[in-house]
C-alpha cells in the first residue's frame, strides 16, 4: 500500500574527515553517539538476525531428530546434514508417494512472477506518462481515484474477480494467465502512482523541446519517457518481484495445483506437525534464497523505490 511521502531532503553522505584535530562540529557529533545507543543497536540487530539463522540451522537437522533434539545439540555431535535440502527439492515435499518435489513449485514461482512484474510496470508507465504530461478532462479525478485504490484491501475484489476469470467467463482461473491478470490488476494502482511521481519530475524543457519538433505521444514515450524512467522502473520492478514471489493470497485464490508457487505448499505443511514437519524449515529456506539474492544485490534500488513514496501490502 502506499501513501504520499513528504519530500525528503537529500541524504548527506559526506563523511567527516578523520585524523584532523577535533573541530567544533566533530566534538558535537561525538556527543551525539553514545556507547549505550550502539549497544542497544547491536542487541536489536542480533535479535532480528537470530530467527533467520535458526531457520537455516534447523533445516540441517535430520528427520528422525527433528523436534527431539535442538539444532545446537545436533551440531555439537556433528549430526547436521544437507540431506533435507536434497529431499525437499528433488524427492518430495511431504509424503514421498504423493507429494511432488519442491523444484516444481520453484519453477511455478518463476513463471508466476516474471510476467506479473513486466505487465503492471509497462502498463503503469504508459498511464503514468499520460497522467503526468497529457492534459485531458477528468485526468486529476482519475488519478486520485487510482491513488485511493491502493488502499482498498484486495479481499474486497477477490470473489467477483474470481467469477470474472472463472470457467463461466474468461476461463483463466487456475491457470497462469489468470494469476498474471490478478497480480497485474492489484499492482496497477501502486505502479501508476510510483511511476507518476517519477515521470512528472522529468524537466518540462526536455518534453517541450521534443513536442515542438513534432514528436507524437508514442514517439515521446519510446524516446524520452522509457529511457529516462529506467531507475524508477528498476525499483518498482524489484518491489513487485518480491511482492509477487512472496505472495500467498492471490496465488491461493486464482491459481491451482498447476500454478501454486512455493509459498502455498509450505504454508499448508507448516501447520501440520506430522511426520513430515522436518521438511518445512528447509523448504522455507529454499523459498527465501531467490528473494534474498535479489534483495541484497539490488538493495539500493529497492530502498529508492520505498523512499519514492510507497510500499505495498
Amino acid at each position: 500500500m502506499s501513501v504520499t511521502m513528504p519530500p525528503q531532503h537529500p541524504v548527506d553522505d559526506t563523511k567527516p574527515t578523520k585524523g584532523k584535530s577535533l573541530t567544533r562540529s566533530a566534538k558535537a557529533k561525538k556527543n551525539l553517539t553514545s556507547p549505550w545507543a550502539t549497544a542497544a543497536a547491536i542487541i536489536i540487530a542480533v535479535a532480528w538476525t537470530i530467527p533467520t539463522v535458526a531457520l537455516f540451522m534447523t533445516s540441517l537437522i535430520p528427520g528422525d531428530r527433528y523436534r527431539t533434539d535442538a539444532w545446537w545439540t545436533v551440531m555439537a555431535d556433528g549430526g547436521l546434514t544437507f540431506q533435507n535440502f536434497n529431499q525437499v527439492l528433488f524427492d518430495s515435499f511431504g509424503d514421498n508417494s504423493t507429494a511432488p518435489p519442491l523444484i516444481e513449485y520453484v519453477f511455478n514461482s518463476i513463471v508466476v512472477t516474471v510476467p506479473s512484474v513486466v505487465f503492471p510496470v509497462v502498463l503503469g508507465l504508459m498511464a503514468a506518462y499520460a497522467f503526468a504530461w497529457i492534459p485531458f478532462k477528468g485526468s486529476s479525478f482519475l488519478f486520485v481515484l487510482i491513488f485511493a485504490l491502493q488502499v482498498v484491501p484486495l479481499q474486497l475484489a477477490l470473489i467477483p474477480l474470481l467469477r470474472l476469470l472463472g470457467p463461466e467467463n474468461l476461463g483463466l482461473a487456475g491457470e497462469f494467465g489468470g494469476v498474471w491478470i490478478a497480480h497485474t490488476i492489484f499492482a496497477l494502482p501502486l505502479s501508476v502512482f510510483l511511476l507518476h511521481n517519477f515521470v512528472s519530475h522529468i524537466p518540462r524543457e526536455v518534453l517541450e523541446a521534443a513536442r515542438v519538433d513534432g514528436a507524437s505521444h508514442t514517439q515521446m514515450f519510446f524516446r524520452i519517457i522509457i529511457p529516462l524512467s529506467l531507475p524508477a522502473v528498476a525499483s518498482l520492478a524489484i518491489f513487485q518481484f518480491l511482492w509477487v514471489w512472496n505472495d500467498l493470497l492471490v496465488s491461493a485464490v486464482f491459481g491451482s495445483a498447476d500454478t501454486y508457487p512455493l509459498t502455498y505448499p509450505i504454508s499448508n505443511l507448516a501447520g501440520d506437525y506430522g511426520q513430515y514437519a522436518y521438511l518445512v524449515p528447509p523448504a522455507a529456506f529454499i523459498s527465501m534464497i531467490i528473494p534474498l539474492i535479489v534483495f541484497f544485490s539490488l538493495q539500493r534500488y529497492f530502498v529508492r523505490g520505498l523512499l519514492a513514496g510507497s510500499t505495498k501490502g
Binding site: F107, M126, F221
Partner: protein, 357 residues
Amino acid sequence: MLSTEHGAVSSPLRTATDLGTDFWASQGQNLLFGMIAIIAFIAIIAIVMFGADLIKGRTRDKVQLVVLVAPVLVLLGVGLVYPALDTTWLSFNEITNEPDPDTGIFTTTMQFVGLDNYRFAFSDPSTLRTILNTFVWMILVPLMSTGFGLAYAVFIDRAKGEKVLKSLVFMPMAISLVGASVIWGNIMYDYNQVGEQTGMLNALRELVGLDPYNFLRDDPWNTFWLIVILVWIQTGFAMVILSAAIKGVPQEMNEAASLDGASAWQRFWRITVPSIRSTIVVVLTTITIMALKVYDIVRTVTQGRDNTDIVANRMYVLSFVEGREALGAALAVILFVFVIPVVIYNVRSLNKVKEAR
C-alpha cells in the same frame, strides 16, 4: 537415517538427475509459455502504439492518449472497482442453494437480507473475536514496528557500520510472510510437552530457569506472539524510511542543542521527532493498512485456532473453503471500513502535495 521416517519405503531419495524428461518437458513448457506471454504482450503494445502513430491529423493525439490510459482504466474498472462494488452488494444478500420443490433441481438464489450478515458478524462470538483481534493487530503492529524502527534508526545514525546494521534489520522485508511464519511458528515458538525444548525461545527460558511456555496456545497472548512476527518484518521498513528522514534533519540543530547542554533524550523529543513528524505519520498509516490485510501469518501458524483468527483469514476461509461468500463479503467490507480514514487522509495529503507544486 531417514529410513525410520519412511518406514518400509526402501527406495533411495531421488536427486536432481532423477527428475526425468517428463518433468523437464512440462516445466520447460511453462517457462516457454511465460516467455511467449511477455513477448506477445510487448509486441501488442508496440504494434498498437506505433499503429496509432500512423494516424494523421488531430485525432492522432487523442487516439494515442486512449492507448496510453485505457488498459489501466479498463483493468482497474473491471478488476477492482466493479468487484469491490459487487462484493459490497453481495454482503447485503444471502446465497441459498436449495432444491426446487417441484423439479428437485438445485438452484442458487440470492436474496436481499439487509444488514443480516453484519448483524451476524458482530453478534457471533467467534466472528466478533476475529474482528477484535484484527483491531488489536491494527493498533499494535504499526506502533511497535514504528517504535522499534525509529529507535533503531536513531541508534545507528552515523554509527560505524551503519549500512550493515541497517541491512540486518531490513532483511526480513525480503522474506515472505509464509517463510517468516515458519521461522517463528515452527522454530522460535516451538513448544515440547516432554523432552528437550527445541524452540529457541523455550530453550532460552529453560536456560534462565523458567518453565517452558506454549506461546501459540495461551489465549489472548497468542495473538500478541503472532503480531510479533509481522513487527519483525515491518520494523525494517519503518527504520529505512525514518532513517532517511532523520538524515534530512539539519545536523546544525542537533549540534547547537548539544552545545547548549541538551541531553540525547531531549534532542530526540524536541528536535528529531518534531522534524520528522509527517514521515512518522506516513509510516504508521502504511503499516496499519498492511497489518489489516495480512492473512498469511494466521493461516500458516495457527489457522485461526485458539482465538487467534483475524478478519483477513476468516474472510478467505468463509469465501473459498466454507462457501459462505455473503458473510465473507461482509467481512471484506468491514476490513475496508477500517481503512476508510486512511484513504481520506491519503487523498487529502495528495491534494496538498499537488497544490504545493
